[in-house]
Amino acid sequence: MILHTINKNNEALERCLSLLREEDAVLLIEDGVYAALDSEENETVWSNLSPDIKKYAMVNDLAARGISDRMLPFFETIDWSGFVSLSLEYEKVISWG
């Protein structure tokens, strides 16, 4: 059970997703939240991922970038205290940059 945090929307995201297990979770932070934007390309990425993998996005980072209302439906939004709770819930946290 691993929490993977991703702070950019680039090929690191692609690599991270290729190495996930079903019990893992993904949290998009900083520029990583752009991967949650409602586009055909992003929708393909997330719909190909197992529904068992939990998907989170940082609410402050979405709001800052003006994309809170343009998100794909796969994500649960969390705030900083939610991030703290998740990092305690999972065995370890891996930061992909």
Binding site: I2, E11, A12, R15, S18, L19, L20, R21, K92, I94, S95, W96, G97
Partner: protein, 127 residues
């Protein structure tokens, strides 16, 4: 001494090196951490993938970039008892590289094997 390396039992580290050398400090940072953790008798594995494979190429002339030769640092990993030096099969195939021609002997592992290593390690760091 308040060092977690000294007061805690040995931990296992998996370092994921996926940055190319010379464009940033990321490649060097991954190797420095691998060497440091191994020097403190931690169990360390390093896996090279994506552009990180370029760190393993022979013939790097780092002085042309005014930097230390990453390929030479990699040849020190075993001396410092870094346990396993691994490369990601799919990345090797994608870049059409031959692991036999790398600066150091490596184990070739698949993405599925890496998933297992990630799950088993106490600490995983991506550079």
């Amino acid at each position: 001494m308040p060092s977690s390396f000294q007061t805690h039992a040995s931990q296992s580290y998996l370092i994921i090196a996926r940055s190319s050398p010379y464009v940033s400090q990321q490649a060097r940072a991954a190797l420095d951490i691998a060497l440091t953790a191994a020097a403190f008798e931690q169990t360390v594995s390093i896996v090279f993938m994506d552009a990180g494979l370029m760190q393993l190429l022979k013939g790097q002339q780092a002085d042309a970039a005014d930097m230390k030769n990453i390929g030479k640092i990699i040849t020190a990993l075993k001396l410092y008892e870094v346990n396993r030096i691994l490369v990601h099969q799919e990345s090797v195939d994608k870049h059409n590289l031959d692991p036999a021609e790398f600066v150091e002997a490596v184990e070739v592992v698949t993405g599925d094997e890496i998933k297992g290593l990630i799950a088993a390690a106490d600490q995983v760091m991506v550079f």
